[in-house]
């Protein structure tokens, strides 16, 4: 699972959960796969991402020093930051770990890189 995907996932489908976001991420095993950096792509994608979850992903991935807690203005001019975001969102691949619902503590395992967000019938 790339951390860009993580940015979209919630546990709001669980019965009684109000927001379910961001999920608490744990990384047990990860891979880094280099990919082509496209500053325009990152810049234009950012408005579609939730910055709080970008920052929490950075903390778990031990890249919090690279990413500010609040989204800075004029991102387009900060190519270094865009490069770091690219690395965080598209180059880190979580192979083993888990996502946890912030309200119920329900754990969604990540196995072989695939988060299992499937709920049991009695949970929805």
């Amino acid at each position: 699972m790339k951390l860009s995907t993580y940015n979209f996932l919630t546990s709001m489908a669980i019965k009684g959960v109000k927001v379910g976001y961001p999920l608490k991420l744990t990384i047990n095993k990860k891979d880094v796969i280099e990919s082509e950096f496209n500053p325009v792509f990152i810049e234009r994608l950012l408005p579609k991402l939730d910055w709080a979850a970008v920052y929490s992903a950075a903390q778990v991935a031990e890249l919090a020093d690279d990413i500010p807690a609040a989204q800075p203005d004029n991102m387009a001019e900060d190519e270094q930051l865009l490069q770091r975001l690219h690395h965080l969102l598209f180059e880190i691949d979580v192979l083993e770990g888990q996502l946890e619902c912030p309200e119920t503590g329900r754990v969604f395992p990540i196995t072989d890189g695939i988060p299992n967000m499937l709920l049991n019938e009695d949970e929805v």
């Binding site: 699972m1 790339k2 860009s4 995907t5 979209f8 996932l9 919630t10 546990s11 709001m12 489908a13 976001y21 796969i33 325009v40 792509f41 234009r44 994608l45 579609k48 939730d50 969604f108 072989d112 890189g113 695939i114 988060p115 299992n116 967000m117 499937l118 709920l119 019938e121 929805v124």
Partner: protein, 604 residues
């Protein structure tokens, strides 16, 4: 020199014979006999290299030996004969071994005696009693009456004449429509059945017989035939009458593995009623020579000549109420209300067992068959601005995720097996159910859901899946949904799915015959199904909306899995989308057997 050549020829024959015997031992588990027996293996020639049953019988007859049974196996370069007596067998052996050049390009036959014949795949269709309800009345009309009848139907120029692929046809009373295999009772033809036929009904002496009101005249030249079919139950009543004129022909009746050949002599009347009318298919193989049984039980051949058949039927004008559901269009086409209720009650169990578990089991094979993106889906994906976020709900092996590399594409599916394929290709995927998408609301620019919601077993669940797509879309975001259509034809053009049924399209068989075959295969299957539904025959028209569709694995076991589908009627998907308040339909279309809708989430 001359002698040496001969020795070589004999050596070659011996070598070929040995090799062929090893093959039939392996294929059919039959062994050679050193002394003469009734059973002969004919080696080096067979169906795979152009030998016909007729040519084989003609060659055997030329030796003076009598043959009582022929066994030809499809795609094999050998075949088998059983002779009437040992003396016959020896005559055939001596007359044909290394002599009869009956194969392609003059290939010679090598013969061997066998201890027994291999176990037959198809029963001998001659030593059989007729199907129940089938009556053959010999010499039903005289030669003079035959001439009168032929003249009467030839004179009917105002009726509808048509040249089908394999024969000439003409209709009286009502036109038989070959696209739907039915008649339109509201559109009688100007010309009814000629009066010259009236004497036939009196001669029949059937109590409570209603005279026919529809006549189809078929003219068959030698080599022409009609694929196995059953006359549409809801179109015509029982019985169906068929009068053979001008010459004899052999008609084949089939039900599952059962096969009965019936010789229809010139001037005979065939009466099909009961089981033979409703539960057996009938057809005529396109051949120039018929194989017939002689009174003594041996087989012989007869050259065909031009034949005209008059088929008399009476319109039913309502649903069929027969006791034979396998081939009954009435009983196969409607999903009864109680079944819909049952589906809704058992929906999640049914989807679990007959959708999710099946996809996990067939994941690899299924993935191999799903690689080319459908052009109109690709077009939709290319209609988004670069850097848009795409969610593919039911992404399968992820074939659409890399389609437009300028998008951030994320896919989800129930099947871990299929997700593994996409993940291994570096695509972004997660596992979930399409009824509860674990995705932030209003975060996605575009959704696609291709061939997914037709796996949900109730209308409420199908709507819930659409509502989830809408929820995750941002205002102004668009979704494309594909579902399988019940109707696999548009403007009388077949979908790709139907076009793949080459056997039917080349008129070697009919959809009905394929349905019958499947019904027979399924009888032996022990599947615990949550809801009892009809099983669809692949690459044929759907008969009902809620069905199981078989998937046969390509491995040695050839396991058949049944997947549940709800195929959509025209406008059904649109109506479902319109139940959501916050969307507008942008486009709806039919694409290769699928109903498709593009809708947009409203901006306010």
């Amino acid at each position: 020199m001359h002698i040496e050549q001969k020795t070589n020829k004999a050596k070659k024959a011996e070598k070929k014979q040995r090799r062929s015997l090893a093959i039939i031992k392996a294929d059919c588990n039959v062994s050679q006999s050193d002394s003469p027996t009734l059973y002969l293996a004919i080696l080096n020639v067979g169906l795979s290299n152009g030998l016909t049953e007729e040519a084989l019988l003609a060659a055997a007859a030329a030796t003076g030996g009598q043959v009582s049974q022929v066994l030809m196996l499809p795609s094999k370069s050998y075949c088998f004969l059983m002779c009437t007596t040992l003396a016959d067998s020896q005559l055939v052996y001596d007359g044909m071994h290394n002599r009869a050049t009956i194969g392609q390009k003059g290939a010679v036959a090598y013969l061997s005696y066998l201890l027994e014949l291999p176990q037959q795949r198809e029963e001998n269709g001659w030593q059989k009693s007729l199907p129940d309800g089938l009556v053959l009345l010999q010499n039903f009309v005289s030669e003079a009456e035959e001439a009168t009848l032929l003249q009467a139907v030839a004179a009917g120029a105002a009726s509808i004449a048509d040249s089908l692929k394999h024969r000439q046809v003409k209709h009286f009373g009502y036109e038989f429509l070959y696209g739907s295999n039915n008649v339109n009772p509201l559109q009688p033809l100007e010309q009814g059945i000629p009066d010259a036929c009236d004497f036939l009904w009196q001669r029949l002496e059937l109590p409570t017989f209603e005279p026919p009101d529809q006549l189809t005249v078929n003219e068959y030249e030698p080599g022409q035939g009609i694929p196995p079919h059953v006359d549409t139950h809801s179109a015509f009543k029982d019985p169906i009458l068929s009068l053979s004129l001008q010459s004899d022909v052999v008609m084949d009746f089939r039900r599952g593995a059962q096969l009965v050949h019936v010789l229809l002599p010139r001037r005979s009347l065939l009466v099909m009623s009961g089981e033979s009318r409703y539960d057996w298919t009938h057809g005529i193989r396109p051949k120039h020579i018929d194989v017939l049984a002689t009174p003594s039980g041996s087989l012989t051949t007869q050259v065909r000549s031009k034949r005209t058949s008059l088929t008399f039927r009476r319109l039913r004008r309502g649903p069929c109420d027969c006791q034979f559901p396998t081939l009954c269009d009435t009983q196969q086409t409607t999903t009864p209300q109680e079944v819909c209720e049952k589906l809704a009650t058992h929906a999640s169990h049914l989807e679990q067992q007959n959708v999710h578990e099946v996809y996990d089991k067939i994941a690899n094979h299924f993935s191999d068959t799903r690689h080319t993106p459908w052009p109109q889906v690709a077009e939709f994906l290319n209609s988004f601005q670069p850097q848009s976020v795409l969610l593919d709900v039911g992404c399968g092996n992820g074939k659409y995720l890399g389609c437009n590399p300028q998008l951030l594409s994320i896919g989800c599916d129930r099947s871990l097996g299929l997700l593994g394929v996409g993940n291994a290709r570096g695509q972004n995927v997660f596992r979930c159910d399409c009824l509860q998408l674990p995705v932030r609301s209003s975060s996605i620019d575009g959704c696609i859901s291709i061939a997914v919601i037709h796996h949900l077993a109730s209308s409420e669940r199908r709507l819930t899946a659409l509502r989830e797509l809408t929820r995750v879309l941002r205002p102004g975001g668009r979704a494309l949904v594909y579902v399988w259509a019940k109707d696999q034809r548009k403007n009388d053009k077949k979908s790709t799915y139907l076009k793949q049924n080459t056997a039917v399209n080349k008129e070697r068989t009919t959809e009905q015959a394929q349905r019958q075959k499947l019904a027979q295969q399924l009888e032996g299957m022990d599947q615990q199904l949550p809801v009892s539904l009809p099983v669809h025959t692949n690459r044929t028209e759907f008969q009902q909306q809620d069905v199981y569709v078989p998937w046969k694995t390509k491995d040695e076991q050839r396991t058949t899995f049944l997947r549940y589908y709800h195929v959509f009627e025209e406008q059904e998907l649109e109506k479902l989308v319109q139940q959501m308040e916050d969307v507008v339909i942008r486009k709806s279309y039919y694409d290769q057997g699928n109903h498709c809708v593009i809708f947009e989430k409203s901006k306010n």
